[in-house]
Symmetry: D2
């Protein structure tokens, strides 16, 4: 059994992690911390954990040594205490944005301030198994992934990996997202009467997750446009790109199927009949799957590639547990078997 601690477990990614680790057959979750909910039972904040665990939130400054430490703190905090955390555990998985970018100058450009622990950046592996499975197996330090970066990266992965894209043409990714992405802290725009029924394009370009797409896929000209919709869990990336001359739908089928075959949590969804013909986050709530689909206009090479995920699972805590499984040599899918619900 692996002994695990979560620092910062009162937010949504921390809560999802707690749910996964409490039920994980190879993990004992021994401690969760929260400054704002100190002393409360975890289930008072995450009510789905009633009768699942009797853990209470403890003080983050009293965190204990363990085999693997999960950091689920607000962005900017982990980098300030990473040396301290590294003394607690030989393996760390940080779900914040602090260690996702490899180069300090990229961090500063996208996050607007110098990184506080730049020497650590090179030690972290970007925690998306579909891109870094091999390194993850031997990694000590793993970063989390941006949820919209993940739906975007996975939408584009088959095209990039198979070298199908005309990389001289811009890539436009339209991402539609649910409200849990914004985290557990409310603001005037998340008040239910204001947030319900929205189709709200809150970022035309410049979203920070763009940096992870540029870094991980090596694409120079890519933009993400973010639109909030009325859903709690889910991120759908609809990527527009252009393929190289002569590329056909058959080539794309091959590329997508190949990615699905290599990755246990990737599925190709491209049906001719029924209600569920394309990837949709609706049916992925609680699941670690990333569903991929595509359409190619062979007359002009315009490809639309779609990826649906649950932003709290494949886009955050699910991928983190998947990384942990790789780091400890467990079955990659262990503890991540829940397939989602229909209808929901």
């Amino acid at each position: 059994m692996v002994c695990a601690v979560i620092i910062g477990a009162s937010g949504y990614t921390g809560g999802e992690l707690a749910r996964l680790l409490v039920a994980h057959p190879q993990v004992e979750l021994v401690q969760v911390t929260s400054r704002s909910h100190l002393g409360e039972y975890v289930y008072q904040v995450h009510p789905n954990l009633r009768k699942q665990t009797t853990l209470k939130f403890s003080d983050p400054d009293q965190a204990e040594a363990c085999d693997v430490l999960f950091l689920a703190l607000p962005h900017g905090e982990a980098q300030q205490k990473i040396d301290q955390y590294a003394r607690l555990a030989p393996k760390i998985i940080d779900l914040s944005a602090d260690f996702r970018l490899r180069k300090p100058q990229d961090y500063e450009r996208w996050y607007g301030a110098p990184h506080q622990a730049p020497s650590w950046l090179g030690q972290f592996v970007y925690g998306l198994p579909e891109l870094h499975r091999h390194e993850l197996r031997r990694a000590s330090y793993v970063s989390g992934v941006g949820c919209n970066a993940t739906s975007s990266n996975l939408a584009l992965l088959p095209l990039v990996k198979a070298g199908l894209l005309d990389t001289t043409r811009p890539v436009i990714v339209e991402v539609k997202v649910g409200s849990s992405e914004g985290g557990a802290e409310g603001n005037p725009g998340t008040h239910h009467p204001e947030r319900s029924h929205v189709i709200r394009t809150f970022s035309s370009f410049g979203h920070r997750h763009t940096a992870e797409v540029i870094q991980e896929l090596g694409l120079a000209d890519v933009s993400l446009t973010m639109t909030s919709v009325d859903l709690v869990r889910g991120s759908l990336a609809t990527a527009h790109a252009v393929v190289r001359p002569g590329i056909t739908s058959k080539d794309l089928w091959k590329a997508y199927r190949s990615v699905a075959a290599e990755n246990p949590f990737i599925r190709v969804v491209k049906e001719q009949r029924g209600v569920y013909r394309v990837p949709e986050p609706k049916i992925l709530a609680g699941s670690n799957y990333a569903d991929l689909g595509f359409d190619l206009d062979e007359t002009n090479g315009h490809v639309v590639s779609i990826c649906a995920i649950d932003n709290l699972m494949k886009g955050a805590s699910g991928s983190a547990v998947q990384c942990m499984n790789l780091m400890f040599g467990f079955e990659e899918t262990l503890g991540l078997e829940f397939p989602g619900l229909h209808p929901i």
Copy 2:
């Protein structure tokens, strides 16, 4: 033209009032106030008023004299300044709970503190035209109505008015409500990921609006149970009572039709076919109608009476404008003609 001012117009009832008064053919809305949004355009807070008005929120302490003053302040504030407000206008309509109950001891019982201006209580007419049309025509001071009190009062009105109830038996009203009822200020429970998809029975009994049902209908034993559902606008009261022996469905039809005939905003909805057979708030968003329906179990006298309203309209600002129309001798329905949308 009547010159009107709204004190406290950045909340939901104040905003709805502003919408109605800006478009009212007999009213000139000359001032709206808000301490927290001082200096902002009204449409920055209430975006549906873009291109409708160029009013800005002004300081409530700088309110001007006018023909009719609407108070849409948080509960407890109007009673502290009622003397001051009375100097500004000969007619006042207060939408808060401050002047709804006639007796100081009732106020203290239900609101937990002594009333600050008890001598004023007797001067206010309870602002539900279906109960007090005659007094409203000559009233100077009119209180608003509780939204759930209104759906409950109107659900029971035909039964009480026609003397059909066995008043020795308790009346149980189950009220289902949308999120706008809680007002424009958010709290942890109104954060979209927490408030979406709820069926949350937040008050089993003891809700303050109960006092308005007891007072206005003269029922001794009535309780309201409140359940939040996933909707922004709407209050549906499902009232359970027992009719006197021998009362039949035919008697009820007569009683309900009579109330509908006397009141321009009451409709009886009891269809045998189609999708919309019973009262539903869904189709009332923005409308001032109260739709009534009923079912009688003639074997035991159990009557279920239903009333649907838009809590911000008939349950608050719409009724207030309807009162104003009566107070000034306008057509009762003036400025309240919007019938609602289908589908929505």
Copy 3:
């Protein structure tokens, strides 16, 4: 390993059963049938089962012998073929309403037609483990449960079991339900633009599930009022009753805690702080828990008892699997461990 077959697996309860049985560690689901989707992959209808199973829907007339046969047919069909089905398997769990009522005259009264296999009624055990755990362990034939009957029965169970109710007073149960309750077949009222945002009291009394409450709890005067709300999964029963003189909140605490202690899927939810203070179906999607809460007005004995469930799990397929576990001597909670999601 137990070999299982589902007859009628293209509906929502059949699909939920398939999800549970595919993942159940002691069951091999060998066949699922559907006349309307014959030959299609199960995952084409239930997209959450992609990569979970490669089963196709087969012809119900070609059903194979097995250890346990689940019937998830439309109401009225199982009773016509029960002899035939009984030759296929020694154990049958029928999720329809066909075998829930013990007496043929009750069936005829509530379902409006004589039962087609009245001699079978006495052989079935009502499939709610909280009421019949002991009989279920040795049962060969088990009926399913009505979802609203289940939320109502469990809301009232602690009160009835501890003998706290004044049974001379009527019991009124207000049930709020999601759209999946109506099944996978649409009608004009379930078209999204018409069904969204509803609070629709579609049955004032006389709902068929009432019969299951009368039969199982022995209550003579109980009525169920049904209201649809905008949610896919969930049934919340808010039961109004009167306790015997002198009964206090402390007595109720004892009764509710006792039921929770005896039943692995019952939890008492009655918190003083936080967002989730009362039972809510929102957080139960996919879970087999039934959450119970209550409030007592000690001045008049009015008790409000609340039960929240996922109608497709505890209200249908989850309870069926729980029954199967009992029938085969497995751990009662096996395959039903998913605790639900937060937020969702």
Copy 4:
């Protein structure tokens, strides 16, 4: 008073038209037809019209002569009977897709079949006042507009009109839509449990409304991608294009403000603070406004232009009434004053 008839009034556009015309101060709606609801009251299908009109649906074959005939039939029907309809009224507004495209070959290309009345195509004016106000004032025959074509056309109008676009670069429009767009007839995909909570990219390219964008804006390389979201009313177009070298945000401000100044139903929404900073359909339900916003990445000329509308109003029936106002010389905004609700 203008005498009006609606052929095909049981659908959503027909119902919305009925709502607008019943309340229009210069119109008498004398007849509405529906084959499937023959003899029913209009309010039985469109419940928001209770107490608004006592019209019943009559037989379309019994349509009477009138001043203006609105056709709200399923696509393909109006073209078959246009000669017959033209004998009934000197002015016709057809809301279907039948007369939107000027060239028969375009119709055949996008709709897959030869047009049945090609000689009529040239007699119709495309019914978007923002593009054809002048011709509409003297038109006898006016076509409706595609709802997604309208949000797309208006998103791009300021850029095209001011000549700001680099027309050698493709234009990609991502449109997010509510469920009322699909019309009043349900299908398996619109069943509430299947349609709720979706983010469903149902058309990557090739949507028929694309033809209206190509025709009306003269753009050669434009594609529309359609995604359904969980909302009843609303279409949001997010258009991606590239501006000519040297074009700045200031140029765009000028172009957008100019279009807003010339058109009573266009507003520019681009705020620096508050919740509602960008165009959103949420607050437009029932309103005829089209809200426009934009963002320009001056480093590479990538412009994101956004338009929000209510698909049943500005995207269909509202624009049709606006056209009628122009055709009859009424105030352009007459009967279209409802500004929408907040919150909703």
